[in-house]
Amino acid sequence: MSTATVTPTKLWGGGKSPFNVEYGKLMMWYFLMSDAFTFGAFLISYGTIRFSTNGWPDPNEVFKSFPFAPEGVHAPLVFVSIMTFILIISSVTMVLAVHAGHNMDKKGVVKNLILTIVGGIAFLSCQAWEWNHLYHEGAWWGSNPFLNHDGTASSTNFTNYFFTITGFHGFHVFSGVVINIIMLIMTLMDKFEQRGHYLMIEKAGLYWHFVDLVWVFVFTCFYLI
């Protein structure tokens, strides 16, 4: 039986979910939508302030360093592209974990969850390094050592927004890692085997992908344009 053959009237007739999903997944989706508005509001505020300011720092001059590279190296976009790929790969392993869950493959779930957690921690470490580096350059909330593109003085809002939004995103990554660790423990304790399904992994997966999705936007808004 495929869902496509069920007529819409039957789906909406009550007594069952019209979307054929259980309530938790539905709630997770709508929670993510509301979270999208949180991030959306942040990024739009950032855009609004940028539009109402005459100059803006050049991201290639700000984010140009690399761990262990000599002082004064000019490598724009390199470090952040590594961060981006880490997050994409961890997203892929998460999909594989969800996929393994569908097939009731406990081993696959465990393996891919561990990889996802490692990816998440790697991303957080990268972010920690970058924050630390910027802090030592004098950047922090309320303090912006960078000049505008054209050499004029820049307002502190560049760093204000950078730290607030990447911080909020990092917080999401952190909670995603915590959720995934809980999922891993539950898997190892055979909780899902007992329940007969791995739906929780799927919901955790939705959250993790959302974190990746937000990074796509943060990455574009802060590092590229």
């Binding site: 007594g15 259980e22 709630m27 204000n160 607030t164």
Partner: protein, 605 residues
Amino acid sequence: MSNEAVLHAHSDAAAHDAHGDHHHEHHHHETFISKYVFSQDHKMIAKQFLITGMFWAVLGGLMSVLFRLQLGYPDATFPWLEDILGKWAKGGRITPEAYYALVTTHGTVLVFFVLTAGLSGTFANFLIPLQIGARDMASPFMNMLSYWFFFAASIVMISSIFVETGPFSGGWTAYPPLSALGDASPGSKTGMDLWMISMALFVVSSLLGGLNYIATVLNMRTKGMSMTRLPLTIWALFFTAVLGVLSFPVLFSGFILLIFDRNFGTSFYLSDIFISGVGALPNEGGSAILYQHLFWFLGHPEVYIILLPAMGMVSEILSVNSRKPIFGYMAMIGSMFAIAVLAFLVWAHHMFVTGLNPFLGSIFVLLTLLIAVPSAIKVFNWLTTLWRGNIRFTPGMMFAIGFVSLFISGGLTGIWLGNSALDIHLHDTYFVIAHFHIVMGVASMFGMFAGIYHWFPKMYGRYLNNSMGYIHFWVTIAGAYLIFWPMHYEGLAGMPRRYYDYSIWESFKQFAELNRFISTVAMIVFAVQLLFLFNFFYSIFKGRKVTVQNPWNANTLEWTAPIRPGHGNWVGEIPEVHRWAYDYGKDGKEFIPQTTPVGADESHH
């Protein structure tokens, strides 16, 4: 999770507990705590929301009485005020700081705690499962958390009243720089921190609730209850939840930026500021207008979060008590949908005079005036539902009709205010106060009263006292108009809102008597609300008992449940639904409940 699964999960847990205690009980073992405090039963949570909301309504109303005292009698002193307010009313006269704190807290509390949590929190919890035929919410646990987050928000808000520098006093919209700089005013110090913590908790509460309502309405409807068979209450509460889930996060973001501005030296909202006694601030490059955009992106949908539940309940009550089907059921849904969409597109009409781009403003005017269309459709449908109906004037019905009246008179002034050119004259005057109090404040209170009078028998198995109900209604509606109608004239004469003392202004001296009149009526109306409060609590324990299952002869599912439904709502099977909720006066029958199968010779509606 399916309907049965909710209960099974629950009784499983209960069974586990029971076995753990070696009681060998098969029934849910309820202690006082699990039944009345940390209850997961949607009906109990609804009552918790209602009573907490009523507590806030009394407190918020009392605050309005206090500042009306100042506005009505600016020269008089009331020594008893000093007894209760202490240094906030030195010499028996409310100080300016206290006045602003009262105005701010009144606004915040009434908008968020009473008319959002108290209204949609109560009735979404109470009515959604009962009217769609569900055992409980999709996640009873999250539902409980929703209430307790609201409770925590309440505690923090109350504690802000008692801090030394007083509660926040920069207006309920909390515009920076007043809200962002602790040096700006006494209330901007600890009071503002607590205000913001309280509001953040409130946002969490409303998100938990809203997600639950949406998932429940979509997933948990009983067999046969298609979306187009839902009572309009459920549609309204559904749209309310959607509005909340999409708009509260934006406010939350705005608050986070505000927290950084307050505590961490950022300048998201701050630029070019000089405070006397402190000097010029180093903050550069921010925009206070940005906060207003973010605030009103929530703020405007918030108006409909407040209004839609009232609209839905009024639709239901009007139909039941007119003994007629609701006129234009699909048009009602369509116009609520239109209102829900437009709610997100019109926020900047609160900001016409802030320096908003005039061209952008003109688009906001257009979109704002479009709201008149669905609103007018709804009013038309309510009136045509009443038209030639066999009306039963129960107190609930009176309040429902009162709602329609208030919605019309308050809505019309909205058309004035929606024009950016007229707004230059009317902005921040008493005209605005009159407009939003009538259309949003009092009208939604009327919707709430209508709901309470109508569903009290279902909530507590007893009736409210009718005579007190009629007194409550007539005094309140007359009072509401007497309070707010004259304010239109004051506003047109240019009298600004939020001033402490109008008697020192040559232009506004003429309104001294009028202000005194308004204050007097406000006190009378407040006293009558206390009568309602007495009625409410008296009737819970001593009211006339409900003896029939369906006292109003209504069609909806909640009246097929036992008079005092237990957790799980229906004994045995959940009823199946065969028709929409509005078959009144059809084929010679007075009413046909939704559970009645469609007869072979029945006419189509």
